[in-house]
Symmetry: C2
Subunit: 235 residues, 2 copies
């Protein structure tokens, strides 16, 4: 400023405090994600909320994807999926109830987790507790992983449904299929009507117990097989 002999005017802000950090960028991005949704997380918006030029962010974040990944990782890292219960079923239920709660607390997170390029490795944080519980329950390691994938997919999807509202069909397609969901209430096959307020929590609990009941059946089956050394057909 005291120099000012160059042809170029002083830039946007004369005092540029050197205190921008990666954490601040992530935090600002997270705030935007929580308040306005994933669509609002633009580099310019994050920069503006930090009173900084868009390009300043690139000193702390290599790309927008990197930022989104860091946001998702930040959320998941600060979570605890271990309920500390002894019963495997309680443990798994707690784990995914927590997962779901986090997704609902941060609308837009499920969208990020659906995108492999963006989802951080820590999406698999709950895997550890789940695999431990399932292996303790007697499930094979392979089936444990398969079960885990079933559970994460289901949980993320359910949370995403809830966060972003149900499906809407603006135009009734072609009439041959009348099912549609509109607003919160929905109308589906053959004029069937369901409660205007869909209870996502109950639906999640139901789906979760479906899967866990299935796990129990699988365990029982493998136990029986091990006891009788006979081939189980399943079907």
């Amino acid at each position: 400023m005291s120099k000012g002999s160059r042809s170029v005017q002083p830039l946007k802000s004369v005092n540029r405090p050197r205190d921008l950090t990666r954490d601040k960028v992530i935090e600002a991005g997270l705030a935007l994600l929580d308040c306005e949704g994933v669509g609002a997380v633009t580099m310019r918006a994050v920069a503006e909320s930090l009173n900084v030029t868009p390009m300043a962010l690139y000193n702390h974040v290599s790309s927008k994807d990197d930022l989104l990944r860091a946001i998702a990782a930040d959320i998941l890292d600060n979570a605890n999926f271990d309920g500390g219960t002894s019963d495997w079923r309680d443990q798994v239920a707690y784990c995914f109830a927590e997962f779901r709660a986090i997704c609902l607390r941060h609308p837009g997170l499920s969208r990020l987790l659906e995108t492999p390029d963006i989802a951080p490795g820590t999406v698999f944080a709950p895997m550890e507790v789940t695999l431990n519980a399932l292996s303790q329950a007697g499930l094979s390691e392979l089936d444990g992983v398969r079960t885990y994938f079933t559970l994460v997919g289901f949980t993320i999807m359910q949370a995403d449904y809830q966060s972003r509202g149900p499906y809407i069909d603006l135009e009734p397609a072609d009439g041959t299929r009348s099912q549609r969901i509109a607003g919160r209430g929905y109308r589906m096959v053959e004029g069937m009507e369901l409660p205007r307020e869909w209870d996502f929590g109950a639906a999640f609990d139901f789906g979760l117990s479906l899967i866990l009941d299935g796990v129990e059946a699988a365990i029982r089956r493998s136990d029986r097989q091990r006891g009788q050394t006979s081939d189980i057909g399943g079907e």
Copy 2:
């Protein structure tokens, strides 16, 4: 062409055949979706593949979202989810195996179906056959819908995983959590290694049977609660 007396030069194409239709736009978009993925479906790319100006599309499609929705609807409308089998379990399994097959045949579809704004009402096409089968099996209507949502979410998610490759963590996060999946093979908790080629089909079958086993358990439970009604041949 023969006229050409105006001050403005002949435009891009002198003969502009008036043969652009909504179906052609949808078809071109679908081709792009299948070949290059959802990211390649831009208005400009679709227009170019039809030898037409981007804005020409807007005479047949009200927006890009409308186009994407139409593409998804087109795929689903040309599908049949009714296997025609009598056993409810076979019926539901067929329905979602078909759903999955469609998602895999059209990579990028699952991405569209994950977006409520874009998913057409016909995502619920398989709902009819599923609800019929489940109600025939003795499940209540409410639980039938819940089960259906569990199944679609699971199926779409699984297909999406498979279509877009598993999660990748470029940088090992913070080390405390070592789980990650890289490439086709993946490494997870505590140095656990799994087969390099993950069998998505087997994982889907496993998850599906988990859910269906859970349904059976739910039916048994409600049967028992209702006293003893043995008319419905669950198992």
